[in-house]
């Protein structure tokens, strides 16, 4: 398959998921090519925008005065954010492949990398919202993008991994369970680090 068509699958999956997912199922990309050509660059968007936004404006959590952090802390937090996203992404891919045997789905690692990249893409692009570091605005951006990501997950799994709609729904729901747990872990780890002295200056 030509490189152009290969790339266009990723782009079109965001707008015409059903046809793009069908095409993707006929390709078997290598995991590394997906990771280094697409996934990493997408996952760079949120931490990069968070760093730029927070250093220029400071985070607004709702109260009048923004929460301003030193550039050194911001860089540390942004790198931590990037590593957490990469870890979350790669672990989701491996969990998805691990679940595949339970649901009789295709086990090609490259396909799972591609599928999770497509599912994560709207959320990663929504990271542009971090340029405007206001929690409420980011929540309002995140809600529709999360619905779109979940839609891509539920529609993509049966087509790309070639299983029935019902099994696809079970597998997608199991992955949603894992992703919710990952989100809570991120919250818990962040809060734990704050109270240990990393990040904002808290009176604890």
């Amino acid at each position: 398959m030509s490189q152009e068509k290969y790339s266009s699958v990723f782009l079109r999956a965001l707008f015409q998921p059903s046809t793009a997912f069908k095409e993707l199922s006929s390709i078997d990309p290598t995991p590394m090519s997906v990771l280094f050509r697409y996934s990493i660059w997408l996952l760079l968007i949120p931490p990069l925008c968070a760093w730029i936004g927070a250093s220029a404006f400071g985070w607004r959590l709702g109260a009048d005065e923004p929460l301003v952090l030193s550039n050194h802390s911001l860089i540390t937090i942004s790198i931590g954010y990037f590593l957490a996203l990469i870890f979350g992404f790669v672990s989701t891919v491996f969990i998805s492949r691990w679940m595949a045997s339970t649901y009789g789905a295709r086990a090609s690692l490259g396909l799972h990398f591609a599928l999770i990249t497509i599912v994560a893409a709207p959320l990663a692009v929504a990271g542009i919202g971090h340029l405007f570091p206001n929690v409420l605005i980011n929540v309002l951006i995140l809600i529709p993008t999360m619905i779109w990501s979940m839609y891509l997950l539920y529609t993509g799994i049966p087509v790309v991994l070639e299983i029935s709609l019902e099994k696809g729904m079970l597998m997608a729901s199991s992955l949603v369970g894992w992703l919710l747990v990952a989100a809570v872990s991120l919250l818990g780890i962040s809060v734990g680090l704050w109270t240990q002295g990393m990040g904002p200056f808290l009176g604890v």
Binding site: D64, L67, L180, V181, V184, L187, V191, W194
Partner: protein, 477 residues
Amino acid sequence: MPETDEHFYQDDVVKRLVMFSVAWAVLAMTVGVYIAAELVAPTIDFGQQWLSFGRLRPLHTNGIIFGFGVSALMGTAFYSVQRTSHVTLFLPKLAWFCCYGWQLVVLLGGLSLLAGWTSSKEYAELEWPFDIAITVLWVCFAIVFFGTVARRKIRPIYISNWFYGALIIVIAVLHIVNNLAIPVTISKSYSLFAGAQDAIVQWWYGHNAVGFLLTGGFLGMMYYFLPKIANRPIWSYRLSIVAFWAFTYTYIWAGPHHLHYSSIPEWVQSLAMVMSLILLAPSWATMINGIMTVSSASEKLRVDPALKFIVLSLAFYGLATFEGPIMAIRSVNVVSHFTDWTIGHVHSGALGWNAMITYGVFYYLIPRLAGNRLYSYALANLHFWLALAGTMLYIMAMWAAGISQGLLWLSMDEIGELKFGFKDIMASMAPYYLLRLIAGLIFLSGTALMAYNFYMTLKGRESVLVKPPLVDAAYRV
């Protein structure tokens, strides 16, 4: 010999309890939505004391836990204990007494909360006359349940009955000990415990009410109905037994994690934190058991709305039982405690796990009790998506609000003074509270659709009569 009622399962009382449970769900969730609206527009209490947040909030929680939750647990316990014991209910008239007596206590108790009667103990606000009535009814519930188990015609006691049994025994112990008090007037009593002891007893009760009622009781529901709906045996029966004992042993220690950084001894806090973390293992063992049971029955998802709700409830059960231990860690709790993150956590359990599994079980039960097809599968599917959307929106709004509150409350400036005022932080929460109100309305509208769907399914139908089957000689008592 002519067949009498005694030859058939006592399903009328089950049907009545399910109907009461649905009615309480609609009513108590409506109260929840109203108090969510009060947090956006505080003047809608119209200066009436009985409409104030302080009185409606316990009405909401008691209505959900005791009205919706316990009615559902009693109904499903009566249904499943007959079928897993292959006998009809022991003392069916006592079961009817439990059914109506319970509704009366919840109704009058709710009115007493509106009138301002309260013991001020969270989830145990009802005053002493109601506490005594609850004890009597609970003992009757125990007599019917354990009497049925004792008369069983099949030797093994199925795992769902262990969970229902633990619910009955542990809640009895918790309720009696926590409500020990000296009555002063009909509407006021004073706890036997004082100070830090009172707090420890209260949260030993409070957290184990979550543990043995909202978790253990509903796990009993899961262990009977999930294999039944999926038409498969439970994935690992051995794992279910191990998880039961690990769950029972571990949960009872976790309560003081509600009292981190308070005046109770530090070792008690640390013990509660460690036990809360260990609790993840039995909780997830049960989740995995459920998910693996349903995995091999995916074809049923095409026709059965019940299974969809139960699959999703397991995902939220996984989330809530993971989030709880995380929030019990002292260094996380120092930020999360007293914030709306806690409210979000409670609702990921109450909406995502308790309500969804109950809805799934009711979608299975009602057509069978009525001997009729479900009135509308389209409405049930719409309900599923409304329930999912409402829960997700609720959780996300409360995560964002809670983390913001925790950070802003604790933020200090260069000279060590608090950086933000409480009033300003509170005012800035309004948009999240609006999102939560919308989420509540979405979830409530789904529940109302379900109530209508059940009404139309049950309308004009007599109960189906079912006889206990013969027991295989190998398992006979």
